[in-house]
């Protein structure tokens, strides 16, 4: 591999890793707050992608503007899903049963998308869709940079919410020790529902970022759920920084392997990393002391 190609792959890997970090952030948040395995997260990503596409087709505006609508709607949807469905699961079997419940939600979303938009593959037409710029001597598509920028902004906003707000403190406390959080006065039920909403809000941004540079179709979420779960397991379940580090490393590795192995084989890096993690360090590599708790 020439050094120019290596640089190009590395830059693309970083951009891809940033996007993966955003796509996986919500997934690890649900588990951290509620021990919910949210199979439907990627279906919500694709739903957000469709809404961005539909918004652009209908209005002719940039799909990023759709976030003004989809982010609050997805937040509300997350709160509703948690309050109306998740709270009905028995705490003792919550994690296992959430797999079944969210699997069903994913099927409903896929069915609704197929029914509404048909199974035809869709792609957002952007003025800057074919544009690229030179970055350190490598050609990089503008849409990838925009998606990465969106991911950085969204993750930065998520970091600010978690670190600097009273809600964020309560959410982190709930993730780290639910009983102790209750005993300092945190309404953990309310925090869990808002946390779920926050997770789905990240799906709105992630799905839109994904749709900028991908062809979407109703069953696309099955392609994503495996890699995203691999990321949060490698990163340490429940840890957002862990997921971000794992996403970046796996994104870069995948990108570097694409040249010698091709796209399909490069994808296997996620599953390889997942198996190695489960064998060597089941609590994940980057979750810190928090991950030891799961």
């Amino acid at each position: 591999m020439s050094s120019a190609l290596l640089l190009q792959s590395l830059i693309l890997g970083i951009l891809l890793g940033g996007l993966y970090a955003l796509l996986a952030a919500g997934l690890t948040l649900y588990f951290g707050v509620m021990r919910v395995v949210m199979i439907a997260h990627s279906a919500f990503l694709i739903l957000a992608g469709y809404l961005a596409w539909f918004f652009t087709v209908t209005t002719g505006w940039d799909p990023l503007i759709s976030l003004v609508i989809t982010v609050p709607v997805f937040f509300g949807l997350g709160v509703a899903v948690q309050r109306l469905l998740m709270t009905r699961l028995k705490p003792a079997s919550l994690t296992m049963m959430s797999v079944l419940l969210t699997f069903a939600i994913a099927l409903v979303i896929e069915g609704m998308l197929g029914f509404t938009f048909t199974g035809v593959q869709r792609r957002i037409k952007l003025d800057y869709g074919a544009a690229s710029i030179e970055l350190f001597g490598a050609q990089v598509a503008v849409v990838k940079l925009v998606a990465f920028g969106l991911a950085v902004l969204a993750l930065g906003a998520l970091w600010l919410v978690l670190k600097k707000t009273s809600f964020g403190q309560a959410l982190r406390a709930t993730i780290q020790h639910k009983e102790a959080a209750e005993l300092v006065g945190v309404d953990t039920a309310k925090v869990a529902s808002y946390g779920f909403g926050l997770g789905l809000a990240t799906a709105a941004v992630g799905g839109t970022a994904l749709a900028l540079d991908a062809t979407i179709y109703p069953s696309l979420h099955w392609h994503w759920i495996g890699p995203l779960f691999a990321i949060i397991v490698v990163g340490g379940l429940g840890s957002i920084p862990g997921a971000a580090i794992a996403a970046m490393l796996l994104g870069i590795t995948q990108s570097l392997l694409q040249v010698p192995l091709g796209t399909t084989w490069a994808q296997t890096v996620f599953y390889l990393a997942l198996f190695v993690t489960l064998i060597v360090r089941p609590q994940g590599f980057f979750g810190g002391r928090l991950a030891q708790r799961f």
Partner: protein, 244 residues
């Protein structure tokens, strides 16, 4: 009429789910600035008493009276407002947060920032370790230090009564001694303590009043020093000879 006790648990019956009762008509009273300790064999219901007092477990019958007002059935948030702070057994710091964040979370329900800052300064004085390790992650502290952070965090609501569940659990003897010194310090600063402890002898040496629990009710209670010196109690519950 204002009660002379800060906290009274009267004729409490409580249990978990549909299982048999754990507490069967238990009555415990906590006067101001006093350490009351509950000792007894495993399964006597010691920790359950604290769960009922802090609202984590709703009693099936009986009264939870805080300064004359029956608050039985209130949840943890309401109990905090009534001035009851519960420190769980084992470690319950938020490990990925700094000591500062842990302490500030202790005042989560305190709206007034000036009051919050004043209480932070107070707990720093009572527990110097809090000031020393202010910016460190709580999970990096030793077991004894974490326990002191938990005590300090509980004082942030300026509680009437602190409920301590087995504070010496998992600690070495030297650290246990430090932790019990801090319990006495809390009492000396005017906070009443309801203490549950497996290390019965140590607990009675620290406490003002002792209650021996057995099968979900108070078997005997009185000044802790007298209980320590009772040969029959020593044989049954304290593992041997009475205090010298």
């Amino acid at each position: 009429m204002e009660s002379e006790h800060l906290l009274e648990l009267v004729d409490i019956e409580a249990g978990y789910g549909r299982a048999a009762l754990v507490l069967r008509g238990l009555t415990v009273r906590v006067p101001p600035a006093t350490i009351v300790c509950l000792v007894g064999p495993n399964g006597a219901g010691k920790s359950t008493v604290l769960k009922v007092a802090s609202g984590m477990l709703v009693p099936r019958s009986g009264r939870v009276v805080v300064q004359g007002k029956d608050v039985a059935g209130d949840g943890p948030q309401q109990m905090l407002r009534h001035g009851l702070a519960h420190v769980l057994q084992g470690h319950s710091v938020f490990p990925e947060m700094t000591v500062a964040e842990n302490i500030k979370l202790g005042g989560f329900t305190v709206g007034d920032k000036a009051v919050l800052n004043e209480r932070i300064e107070r707990v720093k004085t009572v527990f110097p370790i809090v000031a020393e390790r202010w910016n460190d992650l709580a999970g990096l502290l030793s077991g004894g230090q974490q326990k002191q952070v938990e005590f300090a965090r509980s004082l942030m609501i300026s509680p009437k009564v602190v409920l301590l569940d087995e504070p010496s659990m998992g600690l070495d003897p030297k650290t246990t001694a430090t932790v019990f010194e801090q319990v006495v310090r809390m009492r000396d600063h005017g906070t009443a303590v309801l203490l549950v402890e497996q290390n019965a002898r140590r607990a009675l040496e620290t406490a003002d009043v002792g209650c021996v629990l057995d099968l979900g009710r108070v078997h005997i209670s009185g000044p802790a020093r007298e209980l320590l010196e009772d040969p029959e109690l020593s044989r049954l519950y304290l593992g041997g000879r009475p205090a010298a």
